[in-house]
């Protein structure tokens, strides 16, 4: 349970980074206006940062989640 949750958090964290970077922020195609340099979805950089944090938060969850035996 503990390992599954931690691995899931790592996967979701990396996925969030990839999606926010490549699909919500990075410019695709030929630049046509100055607005083009902005991320296509506002606050996409925030999602990327949350993805980075989620990956490292997995370590805290893995260590802090109580054992089933201890419960």
């Amino acid at each position: 349970m503990r390992a599954t949750l931690a691995i899931l958090m790592v996967i979701v964290g990396f996925a969030l980074q990839a999606v926010s970077y490549f699909f919500l922020a990075a410019p695709w195609g030929i630049p046509s206006s100055p607005v083009y340099s902005n991320p296509r979805v506002p606050f996409a950089p925030t999602l990327f940062i949350l993805g980075v944090m989620l990956v490292f938060l997995a370590a805290v969850v893995y260590e802090l989640l109580p054992d089933r035996q201890a419960q």
């Binding site: 970077y21 902005n38 991320p39 950089p45 925030t46 370590a59 260590e63």
Partner: protein
């Protein structure tokens, strides 16, 4: 629990009169820094020495960005050491592990605070960064990987690494018990919990090493991939940033470890082997950096574009020569100091034993003319002519050299003092090198036919930076007044 703590170790919760005075002095300096920033916030960047490049003949990045780069560099030491200790089982270095981790966290907080005053409208800058940051920009990587990822990873590492000690300290009644119990979060030090922590630390270390190399390289790319800025556009910027980060970080860690050893009288735990090991690592990093510097200068002066040559000449013989050669001298002197432990024992025995007292007298004497020259350089004094200023500068150099020569015999016998001296020297060099990376390319590196510019920081900038240093010292001291500076469980188990 494997061990039980009888009283709070390493001076936790104990405040002497001298410490109160030190904290009060630091608070006053922080307050002065806040006052200086309030002036800048109300009146704008016009109270600083920052001006537009070219049209106003100035630099838009000055002291703030130089110290942002410096603080990020310093942060390198902590997490690198923690990761190296974990990955390569460097158990003899464990006593410096926590002070290094805390150094990373404090340095990254200061780095974030250094950027804010550079923004005319800091709140707008913060919101826009999260909203509009461009993923192709190295700034994006700097703020996502360095400020968020790197700081967050360091906090996670520090927190998890401290749980076992927090659980031990929570057994002791006292006002901090609730804090320790909260930090321990139910940790009971069972074999299963220890094994789990080992696993997590190992994987965190594995994740952190590439993160820190990427983070420091990204900061190098902020400068290194600007094709239109001679002096910055270079392949060596990113690796140079990583190596210089290691130099300044390990150097500061040596200074902190020496201070902790003296203040806490922990000669056994903070043994000479730690200083020897860190000193050797520092020596290798300095030599690597010097090699990078020579290669860079040879390339630009031998076959560089005339704009590149102009920047290089301004460093070697021009306006910035004093800073460039000062930084180089500090690095070379640090190399000499760090080579002392490698002297053959027979030769070392022949060096006359001298007291460092006279060296300190000359050192303090060197500070007087150096301070006068610095104050006049910052336009805070107008006492001397240019000739007299130059004379005072050379007097300061002569006194500093005399101080160094008198100190050498003492340093050859004291590896701790040698490590701390080298640490101070490389940090002086690191600050100088950061200023040299940031400023000359803006004032002397325009591709358009503007006249050469200049940049002199004002009292506002200097006060804010000094206030940041005081804030860092304050945070660091206060943290180690509530949490042990070294691992308690290791010491307790050793005692048993």
């Amino acid at each position: 629990m494997a061990a039980r703590v009888e009283q709070l170790p390493y001076g936790i919760g104990r405040f002497s009169i001298r410490l109160y005075l030190l904290l009060a002095a630091l608070l006053v300096i922080v307050g002065w820094g806040i006052f200086a920033y309030s002036r800048q916030f109300v009146e704008g960047l016009v109270v600083t020495g920052l001006r537009d490049i070219g049209t106003m003949g100035g630099a838009t990045w000055g002291l703030y960005i130089s110290f942002d780069v410096y603080f990020v560099g310093v942060s390198f030491a902590g997490i690198t050491m923690a990761a190296l200790i974990r990955l390569f089982h460097l158990e003899h270095l464990r006593p410096v592990s926590r002070m290094a981790e805390a150094l990373t966290v404090v340095a990254l907080i200061l780095a974030a605070f250094s950027v804010l005053p550079d923004l005319g409208q800091p709140l707008r800058g913060i919101v826009n960064l999260f909203r509009y940051a461009r993923p192709q920009s190295p700034f994006f990587g700097t703020f996502t990987l360095v400020i968020s990822g790197y700081l967050f990873a360091s906090l996670v590492y520090l927190y998890l690494d401290g749980r076992r000690d927090a659980a031990l300290l929570a057994q002791q009644p006292g006002p901090l018990r609730g804090f320790y119990r909260l930090w321990a979060a139910g940790y009971r030090d069972t074999p299963a919990e220890r094994a789990r922590h080992e696993r997590v630390s190992f994987w965190l270390a594995i994740a952190i090493v590439p993160l820190l190399v990427t983070a420091h390289s990204t900061l190098g790319f902020v400068f290194g991939i600007q094709a239109g800025r001679p002096g910055w556009f270079s392949t060596l910027q990113a690796p140079g940033f990583v190596v210089m980060a290691g130099v300044s970080g390990i150097g500061l860690l040596l200074v902190i470890a020496a201070v902790m050893r003296a203040v806490l009288a922990e000669r056994e735990q903070l043994h000479e082997g730690i200083f020897r090991w860190l000193g050797t690592l520092l020596l290798l990093l300095i030599l690597t950096y010097l090699y990078f510097m020579v290669v860079e200068l040879l390339t630009t002066t031998y076959a560089g574009h005339h704009h590149e040559v102009r920047i290089s000449l301004s460093l070697l013989t021009g306006e910035f020569a004093w800073l460039f050669w000062g930084a180089v001298a500090a690095l070379v002197l640090a190399v000499i100091v760090l080579l002392l432990p490698f002297l053959p024992p027979g030769l070392r025995a022949r060096v006359p034993a001298t007291s460092p007292r006279w060296a300190l007298v000359f050192g303090v004497a060197a500070l007087v003319p150096a301070s006068l020259v610095a104050l006049q350089g910052l336009n805070l004094l107008t006492l001397f002519s240019t000739g007299a200023q130059r004379l005072l500068a050379w007097l300061a150099v002569a006194l500093a050299l005399l101080c160094f020569l008198l100190l050498l015999p003492y340093l050859s016998r004291n590896v701790v003092a040698a490590g701390a001296t080298a640490g101070i020297l490389v940090n002086v060099a690191a600050i100088g090198k950061r200023l040299l990376i940031v400023v000359p390319s803006q004032t002397h590196g325009t591709l358009l036919p503007y006249a050469e510019g200049s940049y002199t920081p004002t009292w506002v900038e200097v006060s804010i930076v000094v206030g940041l240093f005081a804030l860092g010292a304050l945070l660091y001291i206060l943290f180690f007044k509530v949490f042990p500076v070294m691992e308690v469980h290791a010491a307790e188990e050793g005692a048993q």
